[in-house]
Symmetry: C2
Subunit: 554 residues, 2 copies
Amino acid sequence: MARRKARLRLIPLGGLGEVGKNMLVVEYGDALLVVDAGLMFPEEEMLGIDLVLPDFSYVLERADQVTGIILTHGHEDHTGALPYVLRELRVPVYGTRLTLGLVRGKLAEHNLGKVRFKEISPGKTIQIGPFTLRFVSVSHSIPDGVAVVIDTPVGRIIHSGDFKIDQTPLDSRGTDICSLAALSKDGVLALLSDSTNAEVPGHVSPERAVGKVLDDIFQDAEGRIIVASFASHIHRMQQVVDVAARAGRKLAVVGRSMVNNVAIASELGYMNIPEHMLFDIEEMAKHNPSEICILSTGSQGEPLSALARMAAHEHRHVRIETGDTVIISASPVPGNEKAVSRTIDRLFRAGAEVFYESVSGVHVSGHGAQQELAMMIGIVKPKYFVPIHGEYRHLKYHARLAEGVGIPAENIFVMQNGDVIEMSPKKAEIVDRVQAGMILVDGLGVGDVGNVVLRDRQQLAEDGIFMVVVAISAQTGEVVSRPEIISRGFVYVKEAQDLLDEARLRVEERLALTAKEQITDWGLLKADVRNALSQFLYDETGRRPMILPVVVEV
Amino acid sequence: MARRKARLRLIPLGGLGEVGKNMLVVEYGDALLVVDAGLMFPEEEMLGIDLVLPDFSYVLERADQVTGIILTHGHEDHTGALPYVLRELRVPVYGTRLTLGLVRGKLAEHNLGKVRFKEISPGKTIQIGPFTLRFVSVSHSIPDGVAVVIDTPVGRIIHSGDFKIDQTPLDSRGTDICSLAALSKDGVLALLSDSTNAEVPGHVSPERAVGKVLDDIFQDAEGRIIVASFASHIHRMQQVVDVAARAGRKLAVVGRSMVNNVAIASELGYMNIPEHMLFDIEEMAKHNPSEICILSTGSQGEPLSALARMAAHEHRHVRIETGDTVIISASPVPGNEKAVSRTIDRLFRAGAEVFYESVSGVHVSGHGAQQELAMMIGIVKPKYFVPIHGEYRHLKYHARLAEGVGIPAENIFVMQNGDVIEMSPKKAEIVDRVQAGMILVDGLGVGDVGNVVLRDRQQLAEDGIFMVVVAISAQTGEVVSRPEIISRGFVYVKEAQDLLDEARLRVEERLALTAKEQITDWGLLKADVRNALSQFLYDETGRRPMILPVVVEV
C-alpha cells in the first residue's frame, strides 16, 4: 500500500469549550508534538472528584511517535496533567526556566523517577522531529510565559499560550510584539490564540496599576496588612514586596504553595526579596503591627487555606482582628464566587478592613481583552485562525473578533476538543474526530470513577441511603432473622424511630407475602422490598434515598 | 411582681449576614408584629436540602402575642417561609394587592385552609395592636413593593423593604420620596434599610434603560427572540411585551411560574398584554420566526427550566437553532454563576445569538446603590440606623455610608440575626440574643435534617459507601455466612472485583482473629472490621468511603 503523503494536523484534546485542561497535539506525518498538558478543577456535580484531566488516549495510542511536550507557562491548567501523562509516556518536557522550576517541584510529589527536562528560551531555536520551534515571550499572570512558533514542512503555526499585552511589564519582558511581527513577515499558516477574555471589551489594565492601588492602601493602613494572591503570580508577589518595602514593612510568607513558590522564584532569580525584610511568622509578636505585611494563600476562599484559617481564628500564628487590613489580590475563578464571598464576610466579621476586586483595583487579569486579542491577530495575520482556551462563547466571540480584523469567516475554525483539523497552504478543514473528554482523578484512582459511580454519589448526596438486611436459610429459603434496618444521610435516626419501625413492618409484610407465594428468587424478593419501601418512604418524607435490600444466605 | 414597663424591641430573625430569608420582629410590650417571612435557597454544602427558612421559634413561643405578618413585597426571600409559619400560627397577613395575589397562588399548593389576608396600600393607615402602620410605595424589581412606617408608643420606625430610587418608573409609582419626607418631618426613631447593593457606588440604572437596549436588539434580530427573566419581574416582562409590540412581534409565554405570574399580574392589572399579541406556543409553526417573541423562565440556568430545555433540544415546542436570539434579562443570583454560564454556552452551541448581563445592558438591579441608600438615610434622618438585608460586608458598607450621611457611629447598629435591640428616644442598645438560625426543609421534612444527616451526606457524596454484612449465630456467636460486600459510589464494582475480593479476605481474617480471641461484643467486632477496612481501602484507593459493618444475628 502506498504511504499516505504526510499531512499537518492539529488536534485540541482539552481547553476548548471549557476553562482548563489545555492540551493540543500538533501532528505531522508520524511525528506528534504536544503543547501543554493541563488539569481542570471538578465541576460542582462531580462529587468527590479531585482533578479532571484531558482524555489523552489519542496520544497514548501513538506513544512511540510523541516527540515531546512543550509547556507554554507554569500554571496548573497547562501543566497539571503532566504527572499523569509522564507516568505512561516518557518523553522530554520543554519549558522556560521558571516553568520547569515550578513543574519540577510538583513532579517531585509523584515519584516519577527521572524526567528529561529541556530548557527553552525566547530567541533560541530548537528542532524536534520535523518541527522547528522558536519561542516568543508573552506577558501573563505568571512570569516566563511564551508563545510557541512551530515551523512545519507545511507552514508556520503560532500558539499564543496565555497572554496579555502589557507595555510596562514588571520584568521588562512583555509580550514581544517585534519578534511576533518579524516571525509573521513570511506568512503564518495558522494562529491559535487564548480566548479567555474575548468577551471583555478594551484592554486590561497593566500589572503596574495594581502596585499603585496597593501603595495607597499600604499608606492608609495602620495595623497589619495581609495580602492573599495566587501563589504562582510571582509578579504580583514581587509588587507586594516592593510596596511593603516602600511602606517600611517587613514580610512573612505563609501557606505551603506560597512558601514553595517564593523559594523557587527567588532561587531562580524571578523574585527579589531583600533578606532583611523577611521575618518568621512565628516571631510576629516581636514586630509592631504597622511594620507587618503577610503574603498568604487563600485568595480563592479555599476553606483550608492560610487566609480562611486566619479569618476563622484557626491559624496557628495569625488571628484576624480589628485593625488588620486584608487585600485579596485575585479574582474568583468561576465557581469559587461563593467561597470567596464567604471568606470576605468572615474577614469583615473578624474586624478587618478588606479590599477585593469588585470594590477596588487590587487585581487585573492576566488574559488579554478584545483589543489585545485583535492586536495579536493583526500582527500575526494568519491564514487560518483557531480560537483556543475558553468556554464555547469565548471562542465564538474571539472568532467574531478575528473576522473584524479581516480573517475571512471560512478561514476561522471554532473547534471542539477531539476535532482534527488538517491544514495546507491551500486548504484547512476538520477531517476527523478522535477520542477526547475527561478523565476523573479521585484519590489514587485515575479514570476509574465514571457516570455510574457519580450517579450513585449524587443520589447518596441528595437523600442518603436506606438498607434492609435479611438473613435467609439457604436450605429452606426461610427468613431466619428480623429485618435489620440501617440508614445514613436520610433522616436523623434518633428522632425517626417510628418511621424506621413502620418501614420494618412493611418489609416483614412483604417477606411474609413472598414466603406465602413461595418466591425464592432473591432478585425478585429484593425488587419487591425496594418498591414497597421506596413508595412508603416517599409518601412519608418526600425523599428518595437509595434503597438497598441485602439478603444474606446462612 | 410589678409588670415591666413596655419597651420597644426589634429582633431580626433572618436576612442579616446573608442574602435571603428576611424576617424581622417588632415588639412592643406584649405585642409582636412580624415584617416579612422569607426563604433562602440552600448553600452548596447543604446536600439534598430544598429550602432554608429562618428559625422562627421566638415567634412561635409567643404565638398568642403575634398580631400579624406584614409583607413588604412578593419575592420569595420575603414571603417564602409564609406557608411554614402559617402552618403553626394563624395570624392575619398584610400585603399590597399584587403581593397578596402572588402569595395566594403559592399558598394554594400548601393546603393551609383559610388564611386571613388583609390588603394594604400606600396612603392608608392601619392599626395593629399598639402599632399604627402606614405604607410608602418603593421601586424594586417587582411591582407594588412598600416601605413600612410603624408608629409605636416610643417612636416611629421605618423599614425600607427592598428598594431602589427610580425616577422614571414604568408604572408611575416610584419610591415616594415626598411621602417619606413628610413622614420623617416629626422625627424618625429608627430606619432599617436594604443593604444588598451597599458595595456598589453611584446609582443603578433605571428600569427604562433596559427597554432601550431591548429595542435595539429586537430591531436587529431577524429570527425568533426568546427572553428569559425572573418570573416575578412584572415590569421587565411588561417591557418585553411593549418592545415586542413595537417590533411587530407576537408573544408566547412558557414555563410554569412565568405563565402563572403573567396570569396573576394581568388579572390584577399590573400587566397589560393586548389579546391579539398572544399566541399559543403549540402553534408556533403558524408564525414567521421574525414575528415571534417568547417570554420564558430559566434566567438562572436551572437545568429543568424552559430555557435550559430549549437549549438542550429537550423542550416540547422550542428547539434553539441558528437564527434565534436569546436574551437573558437577569443577573445570576450568587451561587448560580456557573449554571448560567453553562446555559449561555449551550445556547451559543445551539447556534443562537445570546445577550446577557455581563456583555450588554439587558438587566439592571432592583436594589439601590450607594447614592440611593444615602438618599434614603438623608431623607429619613433617623436617630438610629440599622442596615438589614445583606451579607455582613454589605451591612458594614451601609453602616459606613450612614456615617458619611451624618448618623453618629454610636447610633448605627450592625446586628446579627437573633440580636435584640431595645430602643427609646434616649437610648438604643443590644440587650439580648434570642434563638435564630436556619431551619432546613428537605422534602416533607421541616427541620428534621441537621448536622448529623448533612455530614453523612457529605461523606457519602465524597467517596460513597462500603458495607460488609455478616450473619452470626445468636446462640454460638459463630459466623454463619461469608461476609457480603456491597459498595455504592465508591468504585465501579465491575472493574474493581479484585479490590472487593481482597477486602473480603481482610474481613475474614479479622473475623477469624476475633473468633479466636472469643470476642462476642458486636460493637467491638464492628469497630475492628471498620478500622481494618478503612486503612486497606485508603491505602489502595486514596478514598475514605463510609464503612458500614452490619452484623445480623440468626
